[in-house]
């Protein structure tokens, strides 16, 4: 099939605004009379609040409002388990707990006012280790819950693991741990809230979930006594998402309440300090994993037990086991699977979604353990993966129906480009190679009641197309991909398609930008809407050209008869003709697309996604045995993407994902000491710079997914999923030490080398 626009490297539609500084981010929003909000956080990770005195702050000139927990309805809570009051009145459970907030005519005055608020605490013993929090005698952090263990019984059992374990020829068991890492969006979090005269709320926001946020803010208004109001979310240009904006946060409710109290627009924008300690990172995990295989290397079982530090409150982080189950049950063919995960309250920061949504933690354990199993069984790690690679048409133990699957090609391509057979197992010059693969949802993911996205499409008198989509653009290029899909279908130039995606007053519903779902779900939604409008268009054109509808084609904005190309008419003229006539009409269409995927049932089974994305990463490293430093000499990332709608943007997702993944593997870690973040700045928290970029080779495997728009599957998250285990495996190949705790710092490598040499 040949395309005019699909598969082309088309620059991002919003890039001209971004390169000129014209794009407006949250900190760039200014409204008349706007006030600036600031938040007072807890001094202690665990304490009772005995008294809060805001009187001095209230008297400071320029201060317009000061609020505490008393200003919210007493039982108002937010978050996935509704366990988080936006302001804490009686007890604090972490150092990011919000106690009071101020708004003033300038950020400086608001800051000064915070210093004038005095809080009396009774300090309580904190719990910072989930294993300690799980003990029977541990103090209970949420009295209303009655236990530090969340009532989220993550448990997937497929087949008979015990029996399979006994019958396996080879069995390995390991424990892996992962750290907190944070999104580090270059633009910090923030919002501007304001109420109109009818008490309808407008939120300028950088949320990744406009429709769900709208719903949650409406609930908040109801709780505040404002019933039947409207909430309008206007998304500004979003300066990085990566999952961080997948929930609503206390600061947003604080801004809403301050705006309501003052009747003025209130802006809260985080400082970089706040962005580090007061946003929700990727959860750290303790993972015990056991895998086995038979004499021929066929996997027999996989058993995983996991403990997640939930932190003080519950956001989506607690639900990441639902995605961890995916690689645990379905990465490679494994007939018997058992997985349990326990989320535990502690006095640490609470966790959230981050690119990959649990998949990187699980895949680190699975793929590291798989190399261990390869060694135990004497089978080459490459062969072990090929033997067990998933194939199209299979149904996995969890019930995933695999449609397209290019995993084998990915593994083969990576091995070829790494020169695997030559390089592996040599340990020459302390160099080694490693590979690791991934499965991820590539056709949406039904984690909510609907996995849908709506599109409204209209054509104007000039042949131009406006597409109103529910999709959110967080920099990945949703607007461009949607424009390409519509332009391809309608036969108009891509620059004639305008995509509007940032206003809940005019854009239809969408569940949010997560689960690598936007190209697939919003793309399909746009495609079906385009098909509908095209049908109407062809009928009209058929009349104007006096040929049957099936004989009409459109290219570059010109309609013509396929059998007699002399008969043609510019689209714009045709549209004006049908508009400016008695009983005229305008061309419009809509479509709501909800993919054919399933919610997981009570046993956590079901076809979560309409398609699955696969990939393999391979890496060659050199380990300096004097310093423990790991240098990446070559990196190959092969991904089955279904179809590359826009290779330019696709490569951008993979390069960006790989670099985040390398940071996760080698350098990034939020260091918490008794509840206090010790490295919450760009000096001490090491995200990678241009100096750290290794040579990265991207391999795109196209499997043409039937359910996807023009064959495409999702690619937003996969780029960082197998990175850490690929690197860990390469290090083992190079110097024979296996690091089971991320990040793999030089200190850990050196220590392991020392221990190995002792042994």
């Amino acid at each position: 099939m040949s395309f005019n626009i699909i598969g082309k490297k088309i620059p991002k539609k919003d890039a001209p605004f971004k390169v000129t500084g014209q794009a407006l981010y949250i900190d760039d929003v200014e409204l008349p009379g706007m006030l600036y909000g600031k938040i007072l956080y807890s001094k202690y990770p665990h304490a009772r609040i005995l008294h809060i005195d805001t009187s001095k702050a209230e008297k400071l000139p320029g201060v317009k409002a000061v609020i505490t927990a008393k200003d919210f309805p007493p039982h108002f809570r937010i978050g996935f388990m509704k366990d988080n009051p936006p302001l804490k009145g009686t007890k604090v459970l972490s150092t990011r707990d919000e106690i009071a907030a101020v708004c003033a005519i300038s950020p400086e005055i608001a800051e000064e006012a915070l210093d004038l608020i005095s809080v009396e605490y009774e300090v309580l013993q904190g719990i910072f280790d989930p294993l300690v929090a799980m003990r029977e005698d541990a103090p209970i952090l949420h009295e209303e819950v009655g236990s530090n263990i969340l009532k989220l019984p993550w448990r997937l059992v497929c087949g008979d693991v015990e029996k399979a374990k006994k019958e396996s020829a080879y069995v390995v068991e390991d424990t892996f741990t992962t750290q907190w890492v944070t999104h580090c969006c270059l633009a910090t979090s923030g919002c501007v809230a304001y109420f109109d005269v009818n008490n309808n709320l407008t939120m300028y926001s950088n949320t990744q979930i406009p429709s769900l946020a709208q719903n949650e803010f409406l609930e908040a208004l109801t709780a505040l006594g404002l019933r039947n109001r409207r909430v309008r979310i206007i998304q500004v240009t979003i300066g990085g998402g990566f999952g961080s904006k997948l929930d609503t946060y206390p600061y947003e409710y604080i801004a809403i309440l301050l705006a309501l109290k003052t009747r003025k627009p209130v802006k809260i924008v985080f400082s970089r300090d706040e962005e580090f300690f007061a946003t929700s990172p990727r959860q750290c995990t303790i993972t015990k994993i056991s895998q086995g295989c038979d004499r021929d290397g066929r996997l027999t079982f996989r058993e995983v037990e996991m403990i997640l530090d939930n932190g003080a409150y519950t956001s989506w982080g607690a639900t990441t086991p639902s995605v961890m189950m995916m690689p645990i049950s379905s990465l490679y063919r494994v007939p018997n699977v058992k997985y349990t995960a326990t989320c535990v309250y502690t006095n640490n920061t609470y966790c959230q979604a981050m690119r990959g949504y649990g998949n990187p933690q699980a895949t680190f354990a699975i793929e590291s353990s798989l190399d261990h199993l390869a060694e135990e069984s004497g089978i080459d790690p490459y062969d072990l993966r090929i033997i067990n690679a998933n194939e199209p048409g299979e149904i996995t133990p969890q019930g995933f129906r695999v449609t397209t699957c290019g995993l084998k090609e990915c593994i083969e391509e990576v091995a070829k480009r790494l020169n695997w057979k030559e390089k592996r197992g040599r340990g020459l010059k302390k160099r080694g190679v490693g590979i690791a693969s991934l499965i991820h949802v590539g056709g949406g993911a039904r984690v909510y009641k609907s996995d849908g996205c709506g599109t409204i499409i209209k054509m104007d008198d000039f042949g131009k197309v406006d597409v109103f989509t529910g999709a959110s653009d967080i920099g990945q290029g949703a607007d461009t991909v949607i424009a390409q899909i519509v332009a391809e279908e309608l036969g108009v130039p891509v620059e004639d398609v305008n995509v509007i995606h940032n206003d809940t007053d005019i854009c239809p519903w969408d569940v949010g930008v997560h689960a690598s779902r936007t190209t697939f779900v919003a793309g399909n939604s746009a495609l079906f809407a385009a098909k509908k409008i095209k049908k109407k268009l062809l009928e009209i054109l058929s009349k104007l050209l006096e040929v049957p509808p099936e004989d009409v084609a459109i290219k570059n904005g010109i309609a013509f008869s396929k059998s007699d190309p002399q008969k043609s008419i510019p689209l714009a003229r045709a549209l004006r003709r049908i508009h400016f006539t008695t009983g005229g009409s305008m061309l419009m269409a809509e479509h709501f697309y909800d993919p054919q995927n399933e919610n997981l049932n009570k046993e956590f089974r079901g076809n979560l996604s309409a398609a699955y994305a696969y990939g393999t990463h391979g890496v060659e490293v050199e380990v300096d045995t004097e310093t423990g430093k790991v240098k990446i000499l070559k990196y190959v990332a092969a991904h089955d993407v279904g179809r590359a709608i826009n290779p330019l943007l696709l490569e951008g997702q993979i390069y960006g994902g790989v670099l985040q993944g390398i940071g996760y593997a080698l350098s990034e870690k939020m260091i918490y000491d008794n509840g206090y973040l010790k490295n919450g700045n760009f000096l001490d928290y090491k995200i990678l710079t241009v100096r750290d970029v290794p040579p990265v080779e991207i391999v795109i495997i196209e499997t043409n997914e039937e359910a996807g728009p023009f064959g495409a599957k999702g690619i937003g998250e996969p780029g960082l999923v197998p990175t850490a285990p690929a690197i860990a495996n390469a290090i083992y190949d190079a110097v024979g030490v296996r690091i089971r705790d991320l990040p793999i710092t030089p200190e850990k490598v050196l220590k392991a080398l020392k221990e190995k040499n002792k042994g």
Binding site: V19, L186, Y655, F682, T689, V690
Partner: protein, 155 residues
């Protein structure tokens, strides 16, 4: 206490009363309302606020506004030539896919601009040195390097 300063901003003479404790970034964003220059950290570690002063890339979040007196300041709003919508660097960033969320982009481009002021024909090492103080969380930097190389070729 307010003092008067005079300097050149994006090719035009500016005379302004400024507080001595203001940073250049504050002055640009909050007083002149030039919002193209971004604040990513406020302490000179991310490079989002990079502007060019007398042909050198500078973190404007750390630079006292008083110090620009008599100097020549360029921001992202001022690099395209007269009658041009876009500078070659801006075009290259668009065409090479060097932009994702875009928040680091103005600072990145200004660092690259200063590099071209210094070297007509920078190599990859020069490019890395020029933008090593500019953090980007989206792109993995690969296409940013591509874009700067493309702009070099287009010069």
């Amino acid at each position: 206490m307010k003092r008067e300063i005079k300097f050149k901003l994006n090719g035009e003479e500016v005379t302004a009363e400024v507080e001595s404790h203001w940073t250049l970034l504050y002055f640009l964003r909050e007083v002149l309302k030039l919002k193209g220059t971004k604040e990513g950290c406020g302490y000179g570690e991310c490079g989002a606020c990079t502007v060019v002063i007398d042909k050198m890339a500078v973190n404007s979040c750390l630079f006292p506004v008083m110090e620009v007196n008599g100097k020549d300041v360029l921001t992202i709003e001022g690099i395209s030539g007269p009658g041009e919508a876009l500078h070659p660097l801006q075009k290259a960033f668009i065409e090479e896919g060097a932009v994702q969320c875009g928040f680091c982009t103005p600072g990145m481009i200004m660092s690259a601009y200063a590099l071209f002021e210094e070297k007509k024909n920078p190599d990859d090492e020069d490019i890395k040195e020029a933008i090593e103080g500019n953090l980007c969380r989206c792109t993995g930097y690969v296409k940013i390097i591509d874009a700067i190389n493309a702009a070099k070729r287009g010069k």
